[in-house]
């Protein structure tokens, strides 16, 4: 199956989110620079710009990091999660402006190459109060660049999800670098230590929400116990007709579907972009991925011809009123006899 790539997958809802995102940032930047110019008339416009864009990026970074665990704890945050990539790219652009202005102000007017100057102007690596915090920001910015640049679906497909996810987990490394960059930078600029408070508060909020969400998630991903190579799932009437349930078997989620009397199981991972097949439906006799609609025959895990996608399948049995799935997956595209359930559908 093939869906051509477009630029940005905007729909009305996403446009609304992006509108409020841009509006919020514009208001923040305006308020920051306005208040700054009023309260500290001797601070230059460049410095105000650097601080406004840097702090805007930092706030947005916190929102981005909070949305993930928040959505896992409460589904009402899900729309924000779907918009997170736009938040990420916007955050990178804000940080890029902040970094570019800093390089322009501190490193561009000497006779040294600006990047070399950024890396070598301060090398007091053994000092806390004089630590070269700008280098930390630079490394963070490179990580943010790689993440923003690979945020298009094309990269998810072409790097494969595990590589893409690993790359995007770099956000935590970058977050640590940014925290150090800001803490040490603020220390050096001899600004009010009151800035430490929101920084520490943000960190504690991000960390604790991650721990809580991770703890909850682990309970749901626990492997089902095996009995002689088979795993008990649930009873057939627990699965709504033409829907699936998801269990974790052999290190990955399995989607068990019911189509009237027939029960079938396939690996939960869509070959297209790893969409959660178990959250899809059976349409025209085929498992239909909830993300972009790729289809697979539930009895053999193959996309209907002329398409060639294949996913692993599982043997299924009904014993004493319960569905059992064999724990060992069959190679992608292997036909399996569906289990037949005698009950009412």
């Amino acid at each position: 199956m093939s869906v051509g790539y477009g630029a940005v997958g905007w729909n009305r809802q996403k446009k609304r989110y992006d509108f409020f995102l841009v509006l919020g940032i514009a208001l923040y930047l305006g308020a920051f620079m306005g208040a700054g110019a009023w309260l500290f008339p001797d601070v230059t416009a460049e410095t105000l710009m650097i601080r406004a864009f840097g702090s805007a990026a930092l706030i947005l970074l916190h929102l981005i990091l909070l949305v993930g665990p928040a959505a896992r704890l409460d589904a009402r945050f899900l729309p924000l999660l779907y918009n997170r990539r736009h938040m990420g790219v916007t955050m990178f652009l804000l940080a890029l402006i902040h970094g570019s202005f800093s390089v322009l102000q501190f490193h561009a007017f000497g006779d040294m190459d600006p990047l070399l100057s950024l890396l070598t102007a301060n090398t007091q690596w053994d000092s806390v109060s004089g630590f070269p915090f700008q280098q930390l920001g630079f490394v963070a910015l490179i990580i943010f660049f790689l993440m923003a640049a690979t945020s298009h679906d094309f990269w998810l497909v072409n790097l494969t999800a595990p590589v893409w996810k690993a790359l995007h987990l770099g956000v935590y490394v970058a977050y640590g670098l940014v925290l150090a960059h800001v803490a040490l930078g603020v220390l050096q600029a001899e600004q009010s230590p009151r800035l430490w408070l929101p920084l520490a508060f943000g960190f504690v909020l991000v960390a604790s929400l991650h721990v809580i969400a991770g703890w909850r998630e682990r309970a749901c991903d626990r492997e089902q116990p095996e009995e002689m190579g088979w795993v008990k799932v649930c009873s057939p009437q627990d699965i709504p007709n033409q829907r699936g349930v998801v269990v974790t078997v052999s290190g990955e989620r399995v989607a068990v579907f019911r189509d009237d009397q027939r029960i079938m199981a396939v690996s939960n991972v869509c070959q297209h972009q790893n969409g959660p097949l178990g959250e899809g439906r059976i349409i025209d006799g085929m498992i239909t991925c909830p993300w972009h609609g790729y289809q697979y025959l539930p009895e053999n895990g193959c996309s209907p011809p002329p398409f060639t996608e294949k996913i692993p399948t599982f043997q299924v049995q009904i014993r004493e009123g319960s569905i059992w799935v064999k724990s060992l997956p069959l190679p992608a595209g292997t036909a399996v006899e569906p289990a037949v359930w005698g009950g009412e559908s």
Binding site: Y5, G6, A7, H152, V157, G251, E252, V269, L330, P331
Partner: protein, 85 residues
């Protein structure tokens, strides 16, 4: 700091090469690497250009080796099934 100067210039060279090859990849090369890119819009190509520029060695390697499909992800189930047969 001479080694650092060398590193910085090597970085510039990498970026410059990447900018050119990345442009080629984004507007031509990816059509062969991923069939879904063939009907990709201009906006799509502009958006993937920066990462094509950053990751050009990876994509060029696939291009030279004649890959015509994105890699299929290796999930735990695919691995377990592969061991059995």
């Amino acid at each position: 700091m001479d080694w650092l100067r060398g590193l910085v210039y090597a970085f510039y060279a990498y970026v410059l090469i990447g900018w050119v090859l990345g442009g080629f990849l984004a507007f031509r090369g990816v059509n062969r690497l991923d069939p879904s890119a063939q009907s990709g819009t201009w906006g799509f190509r502009l958006l993937i250009w920066p990462a094509c520029a950053a990751l050009w060695p990876l994509l060029m390697l696939r291009y030279v080796r004649g890959h015509q499909q994105p890699p299929i992800e290796c999930t735990a189930h695919r691995q377990a099934a592969g061991r059995e047969v």
